[in-house]
Point group: D2
Chain length 333, copies 4
């Protein structure tokens, strides 16, 4: 299948390109970026690009929209332009997007394959309701992706309340999103919109989708901070459950491997348990798709643990590629 | 009054010396360190020492214990040797200590002057029960000190539950307590014993002491992490209260100034409210004794906020000096 | 004397304001910034401003130029706008500037009071040649300032050649001049224009000015790099001299104190010798005006040493304030 | 050939093990470490070890020396114990060592295959003079390795003088060799013994070995500093040459590929030219064996450039493995 990557020169876009190099199902044919970059070779704009893509000529968004001759689209454009672009594209092709523009639409799933694969069927509502041939599938915000993977095996114990403090890496702010002077030797406990996203997206992802949508009954509270780490978001989690012992939780983390049978090309065991999870040591685990959980202990009203994962892979491009693989395996594309 | 500083060459010891330079009530006469340092000039061991102390000859602990000719002692020795040393000294002089050796003794207060000044009267139990002329007053662990200062104005709203994730500075680990290779570009979510201390010391500090001790009724859960910041611990706090609006909480933080009238030499307003508290920007506030609170918001089951403060001053030596000043003002020394 | 600070909200501008707080000779009356900031209180724009200036209303550059009612001006504007602004102001008042716009004009001194105070008389050429009542005095680029202070005591040994590799702090790049992603865990050996400045400014500063200008006869080569340090530029220097022993050089560094007698308000001993100079430990020495020299050793063709100093104080605003003090003491203003 | 790695749990030892995983010529059979580690599984001591070695039981040095049943040895032990150990082993097997114990022996080469492969024949002197069946081949100190690779293509222009300022990564100091408190937000211009090593080892490596040894005629001066970077030493180099234009030098860097024909398993192009070499971006180039050169410019008395390379691979274990491959290809083992 022929794929396009939109926003291919940004932080997440580059990660898409890197992850799709040599992909067995999806062949990147088109790299889309701003007017300013259009016409240049990708290797000129992104020196560390894989050889395979270095000579590819970058296409402007307007040119691409005129004739989007591909079978699926990965979108790493900013949210501000993504809303319309994705709708226009979804008329004809499936769009797997990291942008938040449509995440909160009722008929658009925020998909994490290991967590809520059944939400993929929401795309049928899109096709029916909007008359599209394609559809939009979003992945969650980076810290939500990492959090929900760690929460998935705990659902069986009845989640009641989650409180999470994040320590997020600087690459989450994009190339020039964060001044060195701001974060050097510092912690910045403010990331615009992040706490709202974690609280709302995780509840949307973890609700059940049966005949109708069953809203999540648990509460989520988040405090988001930025720390001087290159890649890898770390999250300190306090959780209240209806039942479950520490041994059962540990076992649930260690045995969590829900999509093994689907044999998706990028799939890796989603969780590894390790006593002291650390972003620098563990962010590349499972090619960046595995989150590391540890420090699980009983706490005053439940349990506490720490999870760390790669914000650009598990938390962005890698999750989106996995979404496309799931969609293909299940026959949606 | 003539003071001694024990462990004067360590991280906390140096902070004691710096804070006591030119102190109007306490005059440092004796600097105590290991046998290895004994006999050397303090300025030789600590190049950045205040001029006033550079020529002072360092005394070994054993020599000092033989004849502790001072009126009070500040202790920055490690816990492992402090237990016995403090007991021996307290037979004759008041000891204000940063070590944890006696923190959990029933008759020893963990004192934070702005939070539980009335606990100071526990020293009477020591004098009676142990037959001492002096006494031991401890200050809490660094992250507990910062946390409890922020909790103090919230007591009036009925604290039910506290969950705190700390992001602690590397100076908290001592001079060579942490390898550069371990913390560079990393977050380490394990600080031995720290979570237990936060959970237990904060409940001891915040209990009421009336005719008898009224145990704290709220719960505390902590996850402690180390981040690549020089000084300044940052804490993300989720709190459940019995009552209170966000405006009332904000007002309580902003007006908290309990010991103003006592006119203690080192006293500074203990809390400043600021939208985005950050360790590098705010750690020196109030000469390191003021904690900065911010990001106060309603949360699923209560409120959330962030507090940051100087771990070596508010969290160690500065708190201890304030303890001694309170003890003097109230006539205990 | 009534002073204005131009570019008062930038990195260097803030340093000017901080250093001029309570200055015995110069009273800051006017803070000038961009149109966007005009009309706001300075404390609103710069939260950490000294109390003295918090309520001062910021003036726009165009308003200020219409009626520059002060006795001297400190300029921290970018070079791009400084050229014309400084010329216009110098018609009436003395301008002490950190901008490079006029540094290379023949009749404008690049002044470092401890190094080339006699260059100040160049301002007479300005007054004659340009018909100005005021004049322009520049301070050098930050790394040049630090380097030339360390070279000054070595002139007596006949400097032949200097090679310097700098390791410059991130605050030298301004508030948002450097992305966190670029410098985190990295060294960037490119700072636009910096090497040229070091090579040329240091030779202009260290030439002799007798009846006529005697060009410097030595050569200077520089490699400039950025390192993940907040403040404090560190420079590794290889120097060839005509004569001199290591003991004589050491003595020259240690006894260098040329302006002591002038009793300038901000003057500090310009050099302290210390075995291992380090930016984090020594940048605040002498309120940021003292550079620390160390590691002096013989080398294949001469000597090598390391110097570190505060880039915003010694290397920018502090040097400029010292320039104004010298000008006043010598009767130029 | 069966290989042993001595000091297998240290920083350099782990790098040896990682690089030898799946090596086509050398099969690691024995991992040697301290008595404390002996008897444990390697995976227990080094969690990130390759699967292939996780179950291998670590052997103590004394046990290994009793019966060193391998065909070659890679040594990553500290210099203090290496002297005798290497001599004893070399009686029977070839030793490729990162330790400096024998680097300065007349009959022991400091070998960098791309730079001085002909020095390998010195081992014949060892066999003759010492009566050994094996021999000792050392690789240089990490910063020397990186420097000499960059100097090799410049030899044809007649090197006269080299001055180098290094900015070295923290992993060069070993696991706990450097306290976080020392290097955080800092540059430390002192690495014990490093400057001497650079100055002397580079001259030994770059001398010619014809009928007899022709001492290097050029001079080398070094200033070594530590910077807060994980891996990758960066070096600012000033060089004087007898002849050569900047274009010729650039061409010499770009075409340098001396051992291509030997087809050594680990061989990578030793130099890539790139405008702004940076440790975080380029340290993994060529699996860590390629150094990146850039910023080449004319300078007052010659040229200046910057080189960066991986200190643990190019500068230690990787260089040593390449040494062994060269020795095998040339029939010495």
């Amino acid at each position: 299948m022929r794929a396009a990557v939109l926003g291919a020169t940004g932080m997440v876009g580059r990660t898409f390109v890197r992850l799709l190099e040599g992909h067995p199902w999806f062949k990147v044919k088109t790299l889309v970026a701003s007017e300013r970059s259009a016409g240049k070779r990708y290797g000129e704009l992104v020196p560390e690009a894989p050889e395979e893509f270095k000579e590819l000529e970058v296409v402007s968004l307007s040119d691409f929209l005129r004739e989007p001759d591909v079978d699926l689209v990965f979108n790493a454009l900013p949210a501000s332009v993504s809303g319309e672009v994705e709708e226009k594209l979804a008329e004809r092709v499936p769009v797997f997007t990291n942008a938040r523009a449509h995440r909160y639409d009722d008929d658009v799933p925020i998909l994490v394959p290991e967590v809520n694969p059944e939400h993929l069927k929401l795309v049928e509502l899109q096709r029916e309701g909007r008359g599209w041939e394609g559809f939009i599938v979003t992945n969650p915000n980076c810290s939500t992706a990492i959090l929900t993977v760690s929460l998935a095996p705990l659902r069986e114990f009845g989640i009641r309340d989650v409180r999470v403090a994040t320590m997020q890496a600087i690459s989450g702010a994009g190339f020039s999103g964060l001044s060195a002077l701001a974060i050097h030797d510092n912690v910045i406990p403010l990331i615009e919109g992040e706490e709202w996203k974690i609280e709302n997206e995780s509840r949307k992802i973890l609700r059940r989708l049966e005949r109708s949508i069953v809203p999540a009954e648990f509460t989520v509270s988040a405090i988001a901070t930025r720390v001087p780490v290159l890649h890898g978001h770390t999250e300190a989690v306090f959780i209240e459950l209806e039942r479950g012992s520490i041994d059962e939780l540990r076992e649930a983390f260690e045995s969590f491997d829900p999509l093994r049978k689907l044999d998706l090309p990028s799939y890796e065991r989603p969780i590894v348990y390790e006593e002291v999870p650390q972003p620098r040591l563990h962010r590349e685990r499972g090619k960046g798709l595995t989150v590391t959980v540890g420090r699980l202990e009983e706490s005053a009203r439940g349990f506490k643990y720490v999870v760390t994962g790669h914000n650009l892979v598990r938390g962005a491009a890698g999750g989106s590629v996995l979404n496309a693989e799931l969609a293909k395996r299940l026959g949606y594309i």
